[in-house]
Amino acid sequence: METKSKTEKLAMFFVSGKGPVVTHLFCSLKCFEESTFSGKMVSGLINANPVVYEKKERRVRSVPSAAADEYAVEPIDQQEIFDILSLFIGLTYDLGLKVVLYFDLDIKDPEHPYSLEELKVISEDAIDVDDSRGSVRVTFTPTVEHCSMATVIGLCLRVKLLRSLPSRYKVDIRVAPGSHATEAAVNKQLNDKERVAAALENPGLLDMVDECLSPSYE
């Protein structure tokens, strides 16, 4: 029996909807991509050998001196945003990555051990914060150029920041230049607040986002 390509298998999964473990996620993803955003279903490459980077040494947070006004508003900085995101998005991305890797027969263990940070999907350097202007820009790097999860990851990032930051913050979410085949389209979708608002009124999608953001997921 001839071996089907990975792409075909992935495509079959989308069509039949059959498959272990991740059905719910995929259904949500399908829902998200087809009816909420207009992006075409991506059934492309699979990252067989993700490059894994070492975790970055955390720099020590500066502790306010005793003389400092304890009621002073502490501006939100890069590291804080990163912490907000990395605490959950590692899981999110793992979840996404697992789905992709599951269909890669070369990797036996579907439980992908790497965190978002280790995959350099998101790094502290890729977060720009201007607290005085209330702007936050997050640039993330999908591990594969055709990662179909890019819009979902981006949406999770947006929702997480939406729920974590004071409302005065303006958040821009982008994929790193050159990191995604449909970079412009992904960026445009993620930053169209009307489409994001409509997406978040989609119950299936909202469930998925909530699941990704849930801290208790293990």
């Binding site: 009816s35 005065r168 303006k170 445009k188 489409r195 608002a197 409509a198």
Partner: protein, 466 residues
């Protein structure tokens, strides 16, 4: 000495201010009222020679060539005497003349009078009530005149529509919520629009429907629900006569509905051509044309080509190749004459488009639109809303929480390359979050309403005080 400013929904339709701006010797009139009668097509009103206006320093009647009569009253205080001329239409204008004798108007830098008058933006009231983003608002067009208090509708992510009304009798200017229209839409209400008569309100929702509400003595009843779009409906617009309705949405289409007796609405056309999400649809103020703008970065103009009934087709696409936008076009608005249009975009620019007004009046054929100028460098984030006032002030509302006002440069040199526009006023932190909609009131005063993600609506007055 020159006329620097003229305004009226009627007068400016014919481009009269442009004609008048050539008047160079006009005495010391600061302002006056114009009344017009007898014009079958009021927008054809013309004043062609300066002498006709030289006499305007006193009360007099002129007979411009087009057959309509113009009555000029010398001061604004004469407004009350309008009732003495019952045969004249109740169209009046305020004309303001620049005169060296009056220091207010005597700056040498050829100031647009709007620049002189609009020095500040006063917040009249902040209206709270919606519990989610306020996406859009629409003034009832028949309010603000003849003693009817100003009123508008707002719609929100909280799935409701609210009707707000000015209470002029209270000692402090007060706006109150008169009605909440709920339990009809099941998702965000994205857009709302009044019929020209002010009797019906149409609301477009992410729930894929458009609802029609009838105003019966201040009570609103949903009399019809328009279904057909595949998913989110994003905008709705009535044609000038109120006989047709256009809707558009995520499914990339624009639908035209015909109003039938008994609050029935028949879909008479589904216009396909946009390649993405259609963000806004707007009828031309006097012609049977539909303008739609989209996530595909273009503006499309649709016309009934005649022949078979309802043979609608796209007659022009304003895209990047004709100096159009390079990202989502969120909104558009026409000047009062209907010969210019402003569009706003995610590419952080406003663009002004124009058509040949003379030609448009003289033919039934479609007259193409062309790019006139681009206002770039003023906005920091996406511009969601733009609205052109009857007295030629363009207001924009953007994701940087700022409201900006633009006016045409009153610089003759600019005429060589077409008009140019400059920033008149900027109100930073007008809201705490993104501003989704800015709309000028239909009344005579420079009242503007803005709606924002922070769930509030604000009423503003453009003032001459600093």
């Amino acid at each position: 000495m020159r006329l620097v400013y003229g305004s009226d929904r009627l007068i400016s339709k014919g481009g009269l201010p442009q004609k008048l701006s050539r008047v160079t010797s006009l005495g010391k009139i600061k302002c006056c009222l114009l009344l017009i009668r007898g014009a079958h097509r009021t927008h054809n009103a013309r004043v062609q020679t300066p002498t006709q206006l030289v006499n305007a320093s006193t009360e007099s009647i002129h007979s411009p060539p087009t057959g309509c009569q113009i009555l000029v009253l010398p001061t604004r205080q004469h407004r009350s005497s309008v009732t003495q001329y019952p045969s004249f239409s109740l169209f009046f204008t305020t004309l303001l003349f620049n005169s060296p004798a009056n220091p207010l108007f005597s700056q040498s830098s050829q100031p647009h009078l709007a620049m002189e008058l609009a020095k500040g933006l006063r917040e009249i009231q902040k209206l709270e009530g919606h519990t989610d983003k306020v996406w859009s608002l629409a003034w009832n067009p028949v309010t603000g005149v003849a003693g009817i208090p100003l009123s508008f509708a707002s719609c929100s992510g909280d799935k409701t529509v609210r009707i707000w009304e000015h209470n002029p009798s209270s000692s402090t200017s007060s706006w109150d919520c008169k009605a909440v229209l709920d339990e009809t839409h099941t998702r965000t209400v994205r857009s709302c629009a009044w019929s020209p008569s002010g009797k019906f309100l149409a609301t477009a929702s992410f729930d894929a429907t458009t609802a029609i509400w009838e105003n019966v003595g201040g009570d609103y009843e949903c009399v019809s629900t328009l279904e057909g779009h595949e998913n989110e409906v994003k905008s709705v617009s009535w044609n000038p006569s109120g006989s047709l309705l256009a809707t558009c949405g995520r499914d990339k289409t624009v639908w035209i509905w015909e109003v039938q007796p008994g609050n029935e609405f028949d879909c008479v056309a589904v216009l396909q051509g946009h390649t993405q999400d259609v963000k806004m649809v707007q009828w031309h103020p006097s012609r049977n044309l539909i303008f739609s703008c989209s996530y595909d970065n273009t503006v499309k103009i649709w016309a009934d080509e005649g022949g078979d009934d309802d043979d609608w087709a796209c007659v022009q696409t304003l895209g990047e190749t004709n100096n159009g936008h390079s990202s989502t076009v969120w909104a558009l608005s026409f000047n009062d004459g209907g010969d210019k249009m402003v569009t706003c975009s995610d590419d952080l620019t406003l663009k002004i488009w124009g058509t040949d007004n003379e030609k448009m009046q003289s033919t039934d054929d479609f007259v193409p639109w062309r790019h006139l100028c681009t206002l770039s460098g003023y906005h920091d984030r996406t511009i969601f809303s733009v609205h052109w006032s009857r007295d030629n002030i363009i207001a924009s509302g953007a994701a940087d929480d700022t409201i900006r006002f633009f006016v045409e440069n009153d610089d003759k040199d600019g005429l060589v390359d077409g008009p140019s526009y400059k920033l008149l006023l900027k109100k930073e932190k007008a809201h705490d979050m993104d501003i989704n909609s800015v709309q000028w009131s239909p009344g005579e005063d420079r009242i503007l309403a803005s709606a924002a993600d922070d769930g509030t609506i604000k009423i503003w007055e453009l003032t001459s005080a600093g």
